[in-house]
Symmetry: D2
Subunit: 256 residues, 4 copies
């Protein structure tokens, strides 16, 4: 599978290093706005061994259309900004390239645009593309469905400088009917990121915890998404759509 | 719903106190081997307010058949011992009474007997009938299905005197392909019971934790099972069979 | 050591059951305001085996002075209310009886009274007389002294119905210069009580956690205090005063 | 304060980057065995801004004696190997340079050598020079002194590839009379490092947890040690010796 990466900030770089080292996915190129590092090899810059081309291009000297024509890819991975999709959406969709967007926030306009693109190609969007956080959301919603009356609390911990409530915590709270104002935010030292959901039953407590170690987790999430999207018909997909099929009842349950 | 309880040890008592206070389930009677407390009211003995009959009977003076005839119930809840089923199984099945067994261990013979009974009535068996532990098992197996290559470790904590590895931890380990010998058992002070499953990904960690507060959790588990078994055709059911239906795809996912 | 207990509410009962079972302390009597259970044996009522007298008395039929004269004790343990001290303080002090008060809140007036009593006898006061919580306070303050610039956060968890921020969390926050309004309070299900202090360093995190299992912890705290107060000259003591002597440098450190 | 660093492996580099950015300590030079990176600037190599000289030297072209004479330092920080001390010990001691060794394991011979050097200069050794782990050891030993009968368990978690029981866990176990064979070792994914000590009391549990985020924690530990060693007479010091003085009773306790 050939992939192109849009965006090369801190997270983009971590994602690139994962893709470069993955055997089944070839990172063909990186496209970024700024001209810095242009034409350099991502693997050499990041210090990882790889046989992928992985050349860094800049929008200042090449358009996405030209890039897709000269260096075709199967899937386009977006870690740029919410405006990115406007620039590459049509070009990717018209060529049938699968779009995987990991942008944190989209306005209504961008979501509508995603839906429009989804009529022509396979489109995926997840504001937090790690497997762990999406599993937490999924497993948490499932417990809430089983026991709608359970008390739910969310505690998130991050480094001291992080401003505002974490976006992931907000997403968890929304999924579990917790008031945003009830989220407990801990800010201390260099904590990379920790999300805990507490389900309080009268005589027992269940806790789901996700701890981030490093940004490379986003790269592994991209790999999971890319592999699970393969062969999917066009349409707009979210992470849940990729998790649900794993619930094939037979084989899962051992009941007679 | 009318219920009869077999067994009145520590856990049986805790279950009785939950059932006595539950509005939709009426605890008709308790049946135990020993004659102690015979003919006393369970609610008065346990110090809980209840309008349920809840009279304590002893096998020394009444047979299960006679009890089911004179004080009919819809469901029979078993917290006695692995041999209990032999005594009441036929009598319950022939009268179409639903059987809910919370016995920790059954031999092959008893399991075969359960399957035989399941041809005539609705039979349910769970070696740990709490909602929390069964959710943990279910959610853990699901994550293992999504990411079969993830590292899994189990840590269980109990009070100092507890002998051997916890049965629940063994069940979790078996479900997640963890070697029993790799379970980490902590024994310290008066810890009631804590089970943690650690899923180690390269760049993130997911933890599922279950903490027991008191034995009444088994009572709430029985209520959940009794309510979710209602209307189910005859057959042998496990906890997973009751959890799976909550995964109705539409409504659960918000994907378009 | 002979002890008298004042107060027989939920916590008083748990403390009595610990004292009754402790070999070196004899619970001579319990004194309470109400006449209910008067003249009954505390051990029989609580269902614990004990050779201690442990008779329950009521203030309605006997004064503290008369009780101390007819059934003398070495130490008086107060789990009644903030007003209790006014009734028994002079009587205990004038007889040289050690006072151990576990009252949660005292006004300025009562504290002044404690100080006055401390001129005539040994007086101890701790608003949370468990060993664990006091250790947490002590160890937390110590770390804060070593690293005054560390980020500190407090998370406390209790059962859903608990109103307001936990008094223990407030005490921890005050000791560690954390704003009361920054305490994170989780309210869910039946959590007995959990206090966590998070010390965030740039590249590491230290967590101190205290988990309550049951009220009997207060009884063990009383035993620790009574034993460590023995032989102490008159004066007003707090829990820290009993912990500090354990820091005898030699033997503790293995440095040369 | 002028410092020289011996050793430039993964941890040495992390320590260098902390020292380079610290205002009160100037990293004069780095000395390593291999000639790679020789004469390059550590700050430029590590990509951190610093006004410290921080030149990288190799033992292949300069001796420690010559380096100390031409580029004198107040303190020498050793992150090399257990043999390192043999090479630089005499040279440092004879010039009155303070030695801070962070070597994980020393044989009896090296310890004897340290003691000999300590007669001529200030020598410090800690096998894990982070503030957090040493605090954990200290606070744990203190609790064990207060309650010698408490049940103690140690759980350590590290990345899947880590071989053997963690050295820090062994040190904790030894300090708290826990059998090495009773340490619970979890190996999963990319966990950087987590040590938990569980103190089980009959009715309450205390947990001390240390979580590593990155190797830079060793750098901050070095800074703490260097600053707390200042002005100390010659002798051999351990981390505990630097922590104990923080227990000045007055000011710490608020008892009357």
């Amino acid at each position: 599978m050939k992939a192109g990466l849009i965006g090369f900030g801190k997270t983009g770089k971590a994602v690139a290093s994962v893709l470069l080292q993955h055997e089944e996915i070839s990172l063909e190129w990186v496209l970024r706005r700024r001209a810095i590092l242009e034409n350099r090899s991502a693997s050499e810059y990041l210090g990882v061994e790889s046989e992928d081309p992985g050349v860094i291009h800049s929008l200042q000297h090449i358009s996405i259309g030209a890039l897709l024509d000269t260096h075709p890819v199967d899937v386009l991975i977006d870690f740029s900004s919410s405006e990115g999709i406007v620039g590459y959406g049509q070009e990717a969709a018209s060529r049938g390239v699968t779009i995987i967007s990991a942008i944190s926030h989209y306005g209504e306009q961008e979501v509508a645009f995603l839906q429009k693109l989804a009529k022509r190609t396979t489109v995926f969007w997840s504001p937090n593309i790690t497997l762990g956080v999406n599993y937490l959301l999924f497993a948490g919603k499932f417990l809430k469905k089983i026991a709608p009356w359970v008390d739910v609390e969310v505690v998130e911990e991050h480094f001291k400088q992080k401003q505002g409530i974490s976006g992931t915590a907000i997403k968890i709270a929304e999924a579990l009917d917790v008031q945003i104002s009830d989220i407990n935010s801990v800010r201390a030292g260099g904590i990379v990121g920790r999300h805990e959901v507490i389900f309080g039953f009268p005589y027992q407590t269940v806790r789901l915890i996700h701890e981030s170690i490093s940004r490379e987790a986003f790269g592994n999430g991209v790999v999971f998404v890319a592999q699970n999207l393969e062969g999917k018909p066009r349409g707009l997909y979210h992470f849940e759509d990729l998790l649900l099929p794993y619930f094939v009842p037979d084989g899962f349950t051992n009941a007679s």
